[in-house]
């Protein structure tokens, strides 16, 4: 199933859209509902690297397309994470490890795009928040919480989709 990653991307897209809608609702308080990092964990457990990499890249590009983030910053971070995770499948052996991976990946991805956007945006008067570190920590903390909260429901849908398209289940001792 060479195109399994694309079908999986379509199955994941409603979650990304839901996150965008939640961001829309929270626009008044400036909070970004970021779950892209958590979306790549379950596929990395079952897909081959050649499938997981384009999946992760597309997840990154979908987030970037709607925001003024430097091109490729998040996509490359997620691709690197997916390569690491598919090469180290013992790290994704059971649910607690998967949850930990989701939290770490989501947090790291959030840190990556935050740093990229801070560097890329105009650093002249007014472009930096009054308390940049506080904002950074708030956004990253939110991403950490979301990584933990969103992983299980997203992985349920993704695992269901992967079962339907015939991707073999992950080995217990990879």
């Amino acid at each position: 199933m060479g195109w399994a990653w694309l079908i999986l991307l379509l199955a994941t897209y409603p979650w990304l859209l839901g996150a965008d809608l939640a961001t829309d609702m929270l626009a008044g308080v400036g909070a970004i509902i970021f779950i892209s990092g958590a979306c790549i964990i379950a596929p990395c457990r079952r897909l081959r690297p050649i499938q997981a990499v384009p999946f992760a890249a597309c997840i990154g590009f979908l987030f970037e397309a709607r925001r003024p983030i430097p091109d490729g910053a998040l996509a490359i971070t997620l691709v690197a994470a997916s390569i690491f995770l598919t090469a180290n499948k013992p790290l994704l052996r059971n649910t607690p490890r998967l949850l930990r991976a989701a939290i770490i990946t989501n947090t790291l991805a959030c840190i990556a795009w935050s740093i990229a956007v801070t560097i890329a945006l105009d650093t002249s008067q007014g472009a930096r928040p009054a308390t940049p570190w506080v904002q950074f920590i708030l956004q990253v903390s939110l991403a950490t919480i979301l990584g933990a909260a969103a992983y299980l429901p997203i992985s349920l849908v993704q695992n269901f989709a992967m079962d339907r398209i015939g991707i073999p289940p992950a080995a217990d001792t990879p």
Partner: protein, 290 residues
């Protein structure tokens, strides 16, 4: 397992090569990639936004006749009050007409107004923007001012086929020159969006305010566009000025203030995009390079 690791090493090498290629790739390719992913998401955003409109329609349609009757009564009362206000406005209109004649003020006729629904809102410490449901197909061009009534909402930063992205007045990327109400000499100040803090209402900054400018006592002073620079028509309202938090320091020629937008930018349902009928010099220059 060993095979997995060897494959991963090859993947890391491939990733490094890809990053190097990506960095040196022509910006057109990257722009095309971004455009493709934006267009992929546009139908979903349209669908969600239209579903909201439909839900609102059915919500209103499902109201009982008693509710409708009560609403009708309320409306009748409001209408009566508005009738009185209309009479006042008629006087104001006449005076306005007279003043315009005196000042030879001409309403800019070289703009075309395109009304667009807001599809989504997105804000963070680093950007404040909305996405509207009109794009290149509707004649919208990058840089066009976006207004609601006579108040400025922001400026179009990116245009796609059916959607456009608008940087709000409070976005750090927004810059504009302005006049302050009550400044007899019409000295120019600079308005730029302020990178805000999460969990706080976004604001913009007004800088280069002359030290001798003071707000009128007991009144809120408005901030108007100057019309310079060719982007915004003149005399649109940017917001109101707030100088209270500013203490004048000795030896400083200018002071700063906060701009409070006149509208709640995150509750707008519709906006108007003022598309210039003629290409401005900046666009012409861009066309030459493309």
């Amino acid at each position: 397992m060993e095979q997995n690791r060897r494959g991963a090493q090859a993947s890391y090498v491939a990733l490094t090569i890809f990053i190097a290629v990506w960095i040196f790739m022509p910006s057109a390719v990257r722009r095309l990639n971004r455009e493709a992913f934006t267009e992929f998401q546009a139908p979903a955003m349209h669908l969600v936004s239209k579903s909201r409109d439909l839900a609102r329609f059915w919500e209103l349609k499902s109201r009982s006749s008693e509710d409708m009757a009560a609403a009708g009564r309320d409306l009748a009362r409001v209408n009566a009050a508005l009738e009185l206000k209309l009479a006042d406005f008629e006087d104001v209109r006449r005076e306005n007409k007279r003043l315009r004649k005196i000042d030879s003020y001409t309403v800019p006729a070289d703009y075309m107004s395109v009304v667009a629904r807001v599809a989504s809102r997105d804000s963070s410490s680093w950007w404040n923007r909305i996405v509207i449901r009109k794009g290149r197909n509707d004649g919208i061009r990058p840089g066009a001012p976006v207004v609601f009534g006579n108040s400025v909402v922001g400026r179009v930063t990116a245009v796609h086929l059916t959607t456009s992205e608008v940087d709000l007045v409070t976005s750090p990327g927004f810059r504009c020159t302005a006049f302050l109400e009550g400044d007899e000499q019409n000295r120019i100040v600079l308005v730029n969006g302020l990178a805000g803090n999460s969990l706080r209402a976004p604001q913009a900054r007004i800088s280069v305010i002359p030290v001798d400018y003071d707000e009128r006592v007991g009144q809120v002073s408005k901030v108007y566009t100057t019309g310079m620079g060719g982007v915004f028509p003149s005399h649109l309202i940017l917001g109101t000025v707030d100088l209270e938090s500013q203490a004048t320091k000795p030896g400083v020629s200018f002071k700063e203030g906060r701009l409070n937008p006149v509208r709640d930018l995150y509750n707008l349902q519709e906006v108007s995009v003022l598309v210039p009928l003629h290409q401005n010099p900046g666009e012409a220059l861009l066309d030459q390079f493309q």
